[in-house]
Every structure is written in structure tokens, then in C-alpha cells.
């Protein structure tokens, strides 16, 4: 019986790892608030500006297009990238590990540094604001 309970616990943990974009936004805002020691509210407008701002060579929009409701295209390889806005691609921002991986890599490519929790929250708030 203990074994059954253990397995149920692991299955439960697996389910708990899957989240929603809204719950991710809340935890990013909480992280940003801790980092700045003041309450941080994500801003879709700041996120939109961040998304299209070109740094050295690239912006987020270079691959994801300036309209993240649409398919993007990898700037170097030409491979299709599905929309980033959760309303147009429900799989987005539902797995924390996956989200962390892509923010880590892509911020390094675009900015040459990791993105702060506040920046990630702004981008996510912007993508969530795109409804139709």
C-alpha cells in the first residue's frame, strides 16, 4: 500500500510541475519583487517595447516577429516557430523548465546577459495581453 501511495505522490508531483501562464506571471512578479525589495507589477507596454527593441544584432521579434500572435521564423536557419502568445498557442509558458531554458538562451543571444525576473514578467504580461 505504501508503494501505491509513493507512486501516487510522484504522479502528483509530475502534474504539479505543469503550470499556467498566469501562475508563471504571478511567480515572476513575486521573484522580481524580492529582487528589488519593492512590489513589482508587470507591464504589457514595457514588455512590448522590450520585445521589439533591437540590441546588438537581434531583438525577440527577429525570430518571433513583431506580432507574436503569428508564426515566427528562425532568423538564421529559417525554421518555423509557433506563436508565442498563449491565446494562439496554449502550450506556451505551461512548463517552468522549458520557459527558463528559452529565456536563458535567448536573452543571452539578444542581450548578451540573462533577463531579470521583472523583464520576463513584462514580456509574459505583453504576450498574455494579445487576445485577438
Amino acid at each position: 500500500m505504501k508503494l501505491l501511495l509513493t507512486i501516487a505522490l510522484f504522479v502528483g508531483l509530475g502534474v504539479a510541475r505543469a503550470g499556467t501562464p498566469a501562475s508563471l506571471l504571478a511567480s515572476l512578479e513575486a521573484e522580481a519583487s524580492r529582487e528589488s525589495a519593492a512590489p513589482v507589477r508587470a507591464s504589457p507596454a514595457r514588455g512590448a517595447a522590450f520585445f521589439t527593441a533591437r540590441r546588438a544584432d537581434w531583438s525577440c521579434a527577429s525570430c518571433h516577429t513583431a506580432d507574436p500572435r503569428r508564426d515566427g521564423r528562425h532568423a538564421v536557419t529559417g525554421k518555423a516557430i509557433l506563436p508565442m502568445a498563449p491565446a494562439f498557442n496554449p502550450a506556451r509558458f505551461t512548463e517552468r523548465a522549458r520557459t527558463d531554458k528559452w529565456f536563458r538562451r535567448n536573452c543571452q543571444d539578444v542581450l548578451g546577459r540573462p533577463c531579470s525576473a521583472a523583464e520576463q514578467a513584462d514580456v509574459l504580461a505583453y504576450l498574455l495581453s494579445l487576445q485577438s
Binding site: 500500500m1 508503494l3 536557419t77 535567448n106
Partner: protein
């Protein structure tokens, strides 16, 4: 629940675990010998997901094992992009590629080995005019799927070539 029923449930669960473990290890390729086209396995799924996000998941046979190792040790600087992996996923992909790649020297001529610098690649594509590579639908020599309709399935036969306008 009485004691004997509880024991029966435990037995059933252990049995299922054993079956799962058997299927998992055999599919990982621990028991299988490498074939030309690898059978679907957990490692192949990791390879397809991680190597196929930004470009085609290039099949192992397109580069020698030594070249894959060079690429995997520098994923943080992967042809101008950060492709770093965590949680030991690079090692899983490395084992998978090593098991299915040919031996030989990596193609020279660039800091990181490029499939498109391989002698066989140059030979197979020597009839393709320079202008075709520049077409918007092609864009990159690594964009195999632009012309090879079966590229996603690892098929590059002459019969499945369609050059886009």
C-alpha cells in the same frame, strides 16, 4: 482494505514497474545494436526535441562521432547562438549520436564542424547553382527541408527533392 488485498495490489504495482523498466531500458538502446535508422527511444526523443527546435534534427549519420562531440561540448556557443542544455540532456544526446554516427575526421574549414563542409555534402550538391541557395525559401545550406521533402524523417533520396522557386 484487508492485508491480503493490500499485498495483491503491491504485487501488481511491482509487476507493472518491472514491465516498465524492461521496456524503458530496451528502448534506450542499452540492449539493441545500432541500426541505420534508429528505433524510437527515449534518447531519440530528447535528441529530436532539443536538436530540432531551431533547425532540423540532423541525423547522426551526417557527421562523424568526433564532430558531434566537438559540437556538444560547445553548445553555449553554437554557431552564434546559445544552445546550452541542462539536466544532463547534452550527455543523453551525446550517447545517442555516438551510437549512431560513423567514425572519421570532422570536416575542417570552420571553428565548429559543419555538415555543409563535409566532402560528401559538397559532392552531392555540386550541381546546385549559387542562386538557388540564396532563394528566400532556402536561405541557409542547413535548411535541408527546403528541398528534401523527407528531411524530417531522415530521408534524403533523389526522388524526394523539390527545389522551391
Amino acid at each position: 482494505m484487508n492485508c491480503s488485498l493490500s499485498r495483491l495490489v503491491d504485487l501488481l504495482v511491482w509487476g507493472l514497474c518491472a514491465v516498465f523498466l524492461y521496456v524503458f531500458t530496451t528502448h534506450l538502446g542499452l540492449a539493441a545494436t545500432p541500426a541505420a535508422l534508429p528505433a524510437p527511444s527515449a534518447a531519440a526523443d530528447v535528441w529530436r526535441e532539443e536538436c530540432g527546435s531551431c533547425h532540423l534534427a540532423f541525423p547522426a549519420r551526417l557527421l562523424p562521432a568526433a564532430a558531434w562531440q566537438q559540437l556538444l561540448t560547445r553548445l553555449d556557443r553554437h554557431f552564434g547562438a546559445d544552445a546550452a542544455l541542462s539536466d544532463g540532456r547534452a550527455a543523453i544526446i551525446g550517447q545517442y549520436l555516438q551510437a549512431h554516427a560513423p567514425s572519421g575526421a570532422p570536416p575542417a574549414g570552420s571553428e565548429l564542424p559543419r555538415i555543409t563542409r563535409s566532402a560528401w555534402f559538397e559532392r552531392e550538391h555540386d550541381e546546385v547553382p549559387a542562386e538557388v541557395w540564396r532563394r528566400p525559401a532556402v536561405r541557409s545550406r542547413g535548411n535541408c527541408a527546403a528541398c528534401h521533402a523527407g528531411a524530417e524523417q531522415g530521408v534524403f533520396s533523389e526522388r524526394q527533392i523539390r527545389i522551391p522557386k
